[in-house]
Symmetry: C2
Subunit: 189 residues, 2 copies
DNA sequence: CCCGGTTGCCTAAAGCCTTTAGGTCGATCT
DNA sequence: AGATCGACCTAAAGGCTTTAGGCAACCGGG
């Protein structure tokens, strides 16, 4: 019997590839075992159950996304930082649709707190330091940015912009320009 | 044998309630049959398969949402229309989380075209008539609005705003005010 | 009123998926 | 070399989806 050399990390990575190629909802123990040339039950040494498998893919995706974002932010500020950060999101979702979908699963509070989620929020706050927002306005703006990035990217992934012109990338550029303008001149209550 | 009086409409409606109570991913023929007090196979007279069932729930949700939005828009313009429309989205997602989740499933192109999806886009364009946007800028703005509404609502549903203050509703109000300001003063390229 | 057709709902069964229990054998450390 | 750990296996229970085929309740026409 030749061992396949599985580890939890390898299993999760293979699951992430499966997600990107076949869709996140096809990430199941049986499909994954088939790909790895392994019996289904063997996976249960590395993963608690099907849900745990998907959660681990989600955590992987959040980590990768945060790493990319951190790299993109280095040495940038203001509008440059905003655009670079936003492009990381969009590019990641296009390169890795399954992982991006995984990153949207609802995590239970403790798992979420231990995930890279907080890093994402922290980076958005860092971007806003390039604008003159204070107090709760900063939080509102963080939430607006999160909503726009996530909303646009997931609508685009769903094909929501496919049947109208101009093409999605142009809207993306113009929307980021509009957000930049809005952040520079944020309306006070 | 007493007949249960199933029809496709009743089956789909029960599925929508199941989605709201248990989550959209629990909308399965077996769970639904259990609720309806009916044998699983009986559902297959009204629905092609599990995927078809979920698609029909999605179409129901899109319809309901479009109906509510149309009612909210009647007699309103400008900022009033923007806020009313946005609140319809948010309220619907909070009242009917399962249906709202259903409305996010990717539909194949022909189903999407026959759905209430185009009505939604049309209504957003109508809102923008209260602002001075022309040509492609109107499309960009439609996409921005769609992204913000969908993004905020789904992040909120995911619990993304639970562990920071101020509370989500306050951000919602401020974000809508910011969008209104942005639309009044949309940056030209 | 009853009789035939339609169809709503059933039982049965095949085939897949998830999960657990328990065993074997390869790798590693002493 | 022997003991131990753990990676992977086989076996089996139980749930889900889907199809095939049957009965009986409703509906319109005689």
């Amino acid at each position: 019997m030749v061992r396949a050399g599985l580890t939890t990390a390898r299993v999760v990575h293979a699951a992430a590839e499966l997600a990107d190629e076949a869709g996140f909802d096809r990430v199941t123990p049986s499909e994954l075992a088939r790909r790895l040339g392994v019996q289904v039950a063997s996976l249960y040494s590395h993963v608690k159950n099907a849900h745990d498998l998907r959660t681990k893919v989600a955590l992987l995706a959040l980590d990768e996304l945060a790493d990319r974002a951190a790299a993109a932010l280095a040495g940038r500020a203001g509008r440059d930082a905003l655009v670079a950060f936003a492009d990381v999101y969009r590019d990641y979702a296009r390169e890795h649709p399954g992982r991006y979908a995984a990153a949207q699963v609802r995590l239970d509070p403790e798992t979420a707190a231990a995930s890279a989620g907080p890093r994402h929020a922290e980076m958005m706050r860092a971007i806003l330091r390039g604008y003159a927002l204070t107090g709760p306005d900063e939080t509102h703006a963080v939430r607006l940015l999160g909503s726009v990035f996530h909303g646009f990217v997931s609508l685009e992934a769903q094909g929501g912009f496919d049947h109208s012109s101009p093409a999605a990338p142009e809207s993306w550029v113009r929307i980021l320009a509009a957000l930049d303008a809005l952040l520079q001149d944020w309306p006070t209550s």
